[in-house]
Amino acid sequence: MKTRVLLLVTAACCSARPQPAEAQVSYERILDAASEPESWLTYSGTYGAQRYSTLDQIDRDNVDRLQADWIYQARSLQKFEVSPLVADGVMYITEAPSDATALDLRTGRPLWSYRRPIPPDIVTCCGQVNRGVALLGDQVFLGTVDAHLVALDASTGRVNWDIEVAEHTEGYAITVAPLALKDMIIVGISGGEYGIRGFLDAYDARTGERRWRFWTVPGPGEPGHDTWSGDSWERGGAPTWVTGAYDPELDLLYWGTGNPGPDFIGEVREGDNLYSESLLALDPDTGELKWHFQFIPHDVHDYDSTQIPVLLDAEFEGEPRKLVVFPNRNGFYYVLDRATGEFLVGKQFARQTWALGLDGNGRPIEDPESVPDLDGALVYPDDDGAANWYSPTFSPQTNLIYQNVREKGATYFLADATYEPGRIYMGASRRAVPGEDPRGFLRALNALTGDLVWEIEVFSPPWAGLMSTAGGLVFSGTMEGDFFAADAYTGDVLWRFQTGGAIYANPITYISEGRQFIAIAAGSALFNFALPK
């Protein structure tokens, strides 16, 4: 009897999942990811980066029955920032500093792990972290904090190729999840606090050969070079450390860039400092710049415009438009035309004091009182921003964009910055506001205007990303370890779970054996929630 049951179970399992640990994630599958919601094939769910899933098994009526089904414990106690990918019965995650693990979706058990030895002289501003892998074909792609890009065999975790993207001793590192696009892997770079010269790269997924590099700080003779005084461009920063988006119809790749260097001293780099603090639209085949929009010319607050560009199509002022929306770390919500880069809307969505407003072209009018000086300048938000790398989500059900918001200030005292390769090159010290009680919110904004629709106050300023689903839900997390689901229409909290660890990650959803799961990293554990069987 027992044997017969076992045989039946085995047969059912094998017919349902013919190829365990044998991901064959073609480019066409990623292009069409919205029609395959049982998987999570790319960092933001789809190339449009809405982090929205059409799965609706878990909905507003039953979400209060959600429970932890399985948990994976990471080996590292570093911040666990992974956004997992799911394909063909396997979950692919990264663990700090630069490890990758494949997990069996049925059992949560590891199938393989790639553990990378890291040189002792790594410099990263904000932890030796990693936000996830890219999948393409039968390979898994991982960026490393020693600034390499590694292609692993998806079945075994064995290294197919391992190339140096940049020299880590000069302050370069990779924490970003790469983006698989066509037959290429697009990867950005970190190091904006170390006087690097930023770039975005594309590599042949088969060979690891570099196809193109777009320098985010133009060199001599290139357009935009004259926006840097003297030789400051050589240390101009503008890193590319958050995964971008892609529009296959326009064939444009969108990617945000970070702060100019040194972060807080403007006078050594007079000019607008292109293409720092910008959204870039690039030809993905050549890396040629098609348009750019600079959110903060000549930034002196280390705001980094490295958020997720969210693509959506909507009627705007009576015309159907292809839009890209961008809740910026600087406290303003932007709506741009994604074919041309035209500025359409800029609306403050969080407490900010650095700008008196935006002009008709979206250029900020900076408040000179907020510029760091020797006596200290108080500014909101602080350099952690009103938003940060963690993902927003757009729900086509509600037409709302959801953003976790940080409201916290700091006083910046100008300090010396001398460039030495691989050393901090920032130029100010920061002091918290004495007695301040920083605040955190989940805010729902009208996607076309940025107007606030509802908000949930969540205690400390959060570092968790968001995901919305066709079940009418938004999932979020807090620094105090609460993972929760809110009604996407009203902001009512319908379910919560205390994970026991701060959440520095984006949620995803997938189907395993017919059941919808929600996954989130919290503390050093990866939780997978589902409704009871």
């Binding site: 606090e193 200290g376 005292f413 300090a415 001398t418 901090i424 010290s429 002091r431 106050e457 807090t478």
Partner: protein
Amino acid sequence: MIRWLLLVGLCFQSLPAVVAAQSAEMEQGKRLFESQCGSCHGPLGNGGRGANLAQPQLRRATDDQALRNIIRRGIPGTEMPSSFLTPTQVSSIAGYVKTLGRVQSEAVPGNAIRGQATYASLDCVACHTLGGEGGILGPILDDIGARRSAAHLRQALIEPEASVPSGFLQLRVVTNDGRTLTGVRVNEDGFSVQFRDFAGELHSFWKDEIDSLDKQWQRSPMVSYEAILTAGQTDDLVAYLVSLKGS
């Protein structure tokens, strides 16, 4: 011979430059200390909310490397945060902090032995633990003299609401069923709050069980001793508290 003379000449030439460089670094250390550290450790480094650093030997920073590590990484589990300072900035702050130990320590009038008797005569133990005895509503006092300056302790006795220690926020909670409770916050997140009332009883609520939650940042359960103690008794009590350096 000429070579020696040259060397000596070089030494003499470079000495003022070395002194000037040291002085500039000390000045930078002082400026950074005042902007980064002074709000807790006091502008002179003799303590406030943070430890008194004007001492020849620092408890947690037993050598230069430990001092630099603390400035860079903070002290987990305490109010001392990590910093984004460059190695040069850390070194210049550390250099300046070391000079603070050469400053003559603050004169504390009063008699610590009499202060101990004053302490025992008051009801401090209702809220504070000392030597394993006492309540838990207020900070432990075993090493309060190492963590707080005399001026800060005097202010805490006279005007306790001027600087409520972190981790002892007073709350006033009105529950949905109409009860009003006051106590000291133990923990809080977006969905729940835990606090201890003045009788020592622990309360835990989901926030949807609460009608209002008032965070009384400028309130303290501690009374002012200004009208209770004479000036001499206050001096004695401060001297006693300053003498509590822990093990």
